[in-house]
């Protein structure tokens, strides 16, 4: 299982104010708050940790029929510049992030190494790019591949009654869109 998240940093700057009273306290663990406050660029760390939490949450909801908003319970550990672990309940999710000047992308997975395919695209092209990618892989015609949603609103792709994606995660924010696929 995989889950991803992307953050358009210029939009994050204008849409949210991480320094607002309560913002960190409600969403980040004590340890994460300390890390953020000690960081050389706290703004970037806030959104990197946030995207790790969101990516892990998106893996979790695919496994469990439950929606909720509890970012603080997703406990982040950075094990290197880009890699991290997110613990929720007794489960560990593995994350890998890419931080650029413009965006932060995180891919979360239940496995240490994932074979997921990820592509960065303009938000409006996400669906069509997924279908054409699935066409390449499965040889089914893109025009006959359909997106459906699980009861938990996680996207899944079908050709007729054949499920093509084992796990699919889509995310868009501002100017950036991204999808990650695990083929069935």
């Amino acid at each position: 299982m995989i889950g991803n998240d992307i953050i358009d940093l210029s939009l994050a700057k204008s849409e949210s104010n991480w320094q607002r009273r309560g913002f960190l306290k409600k969403q980040f663990t004590e340890n994460e708050q300390q890390l953020i406050l000690a960081a050389s660029n706290p703004f970037v760390l806030v959104w990197k940790l946030w995207s790790m939490k969101e990516a892990a949450y998106k893996v979790y909801v695919q496994q469990n029929e439950l929606r909720f908003f509890a970012p603080k319970k997703f406990d982040c550990l950075l094990i290197s510049e880009n890699d991290g672990l997110v613990n929720f309940k007794s489960q560990t999710f593995y994350t890998s992030s890419i931080v650029t000047q413009d965006y932060i992308f995180t891919l979360g997975s239940t496995r240490k190494t994932t074979k997921a395919y990820t592509e960065l695209v303009r938000p409006e092209l996400i669906d069509i790019r997924i279908k054409s990618k699935l066409e390449d892989v499965t040889k089914f015609s893109a025009s006959e591949i359909e997106q459906k949603k699980t009861t938990n609103r996680a996207p899944v792709y079908y050709y007729k009654n054949i499920l093509l994606t084992k796990s699919c995660s889509i995310s868009h924010h501002g100017n950036y869109g991204v999808f990650s696929l695990l083929y069935n």
């Binding site: 340890n31 890390l35 309940k89």
Partner: protein, 422 residues
């Protein structure tokens, strides 16, 4: 012929992380595992904070069978089984209850007490004349060697399987006992480690001795302050650590991951003479333990790159630093970097040595020094002995070849291990 001994697997259940990967992340990040415990306050403890690993019911079921979990109430045995099983699997061995007895592999897994909660329940029943209602597992859950009994069966070990006990030096002693057995060729492999129960019935005695801090009930994460001028007693913790020691030949033969080499070490006692008491160390013996460990490892004092201290956050920390400076004949800027894991997880008592050994080996394997938390104001007596930059408060990436680790325990007992990068 003496065999070289290496570490090929590890497992850990600590207040700030469960599992080796999480633990690696947590110690690099300086994550505290100290939290407030309402039950301690309800029982009128002065110190209401402590370090308790978070283990869910799901996780229990992964390590113990439903039958084993019936009437099970021994936190230390649970932590030990998780850490020990993880270490064994990490070393590349399958855990299979139908596997043949492995006569080449043994275990020294220490603890202080076992099954305190279970024992309490049993005592109430006994006093109520209900001896027949005790159930069949009170003995195995409360005997000192409960942990090696449970774990030995899970893994199917057939060499020496025992539990050692030397208070807060237990984990370090366990490692050295296993080390000697592999070094001498009496076993090809020894699982070594230690565990501790947690909660009021274990910690109460320390609260009564006034050695726990009572000043940080409102800010638990700030409570454990080894080497700090503001240290005011230790914070109790619990958990387990486990390491697989193996002769270099067999490790190489089966292409195991090698975390580090154990070069040597020493265990001794101060005999409660010369300033040593039931609860305080004889400094001469501490220094001797360190110098004898260095001799045993056949290295020079100058080769030690880092120290993982015992450093509990009581008033005794400056004395420990002084003992290191005298034993190594190094001080000021020449002193190695030093840290104490207790700043993150508190003093895990009988489990302390082995959790800290796991952390020390991870530092060697991944070449870093984890930060000392809550130590921005170093104790002035310590600053008279070593320079401030030797006590890093932030994660330090550093080339490391040799780390010395020591543990000291009530009863005036000492242990020191020399680990080397492999």
């Amino acid at each position: 012929m003496k065999h070289r001994v290496v570490i090929t697997g590890m497992g850990v259940v600590a207040p700030n992380a469960v599992g080796l990967e999480n633990f690696l992340g947590a110690i690099q990040q300086g994550k505290s595992g100290i939290t407030f415990h309402q039950k301690l306050q309800d029982l009128k403890f002065s110190c209401c904070i402590g370090g308790v690993p978070s283990v869910s019911d799901e996780m229990k079921n992964q390590y113990l069978t439903p039958l084993q979990l019936r009437g099970f109430d021994s936190a230390g045995i649970l932590y030990g089984c998780i850490a020990g099983t993880d270490a064994w699997a990490d070393a590349g061995f399958k855990i299979d209850k139908n596997s043949p007895t492995d006569y080449n592999s043994g275990m020294v897994f220490g603890t202080g007490k076992s099954g305190t909660e279970k024992f309490r329940e049993a005592i109430y029943k006994l006093d109520d004349q209900k001896v027949k209602r005790l159930g069949s597992t009170v003995v195995v859950q409360t005997m000192a060697s409960g942990i090696s009994a449970y774990l030995g069966g899970i893994l199917g070990l057939g060499n020496q399987v025992t539990t050692n006990s030397s208070a807060c030096a237990t984990g370090t002693e366990a490692l050295l006992m296993g080390f000697e057995r592999v070094q001498s060729g009496k076993a090809s492999r020894m699982l070594v480690g230690s565990c501790s129960d947690d909660g009021a019935y274990i910690w109460g005695g320390f609260d009564a001795m006034r050695v726990l801090t009572y000043k940080y009930n409102k800010s638990p994460e700030k409570g454990s302050r080894p080497m700090s001028a503001l240290a005011s007693g230790f914070v109790p913790g619990s958990g387990a650590g486990a390491l697989v020691l193996e002769s270099l030949e067999t490790a190489l033969k089966r292409k195991a991951t090698i975390y580090a080499e154990v070069l040597g070490g020493n265990i001794n006692s101060g005999g409660q003479r010369n300033g040593g008491t039931l609860t305080a160390p004889n400094s001469e013996a501490v220094q001797r333990c360190i110098t004898d460990a260095i001799k045993d490892a056949n290295i020079k004092c100058s080769e030690i790159d880092a120290i993982n201290g015992h450093l509990t956050a009581t008033t005794k920390d400056p004395i420990e630093i002084e003992n290191w400076t005298k034993a190594l004949k190094r001080s000021g800027k020449d002193f190695p970097v030093i840290n104490s894991l207790k700043s993150m997880i508190g003093h895990c008592l009988s489990a302390a040595g082995s959790i800290e050994n796991v952390a020390t080996v991870l530092q060697l394997k991944h070449q870093f020094i984890f930060p000392n938390l809550n130590c921005n104001e170093v104790h002035p007596d310590i600053l008279n002995l070593i320079s401030k930059e030797k006590i890093p408060t932030k994660l330090l990436k550093k080339k490391l070849n040799i780390i010395a680790k020591a543990s000291f325990g009530f009863g005036d007992v000492n242990g020191c291990i020399i680990f080397k990068k492999y």
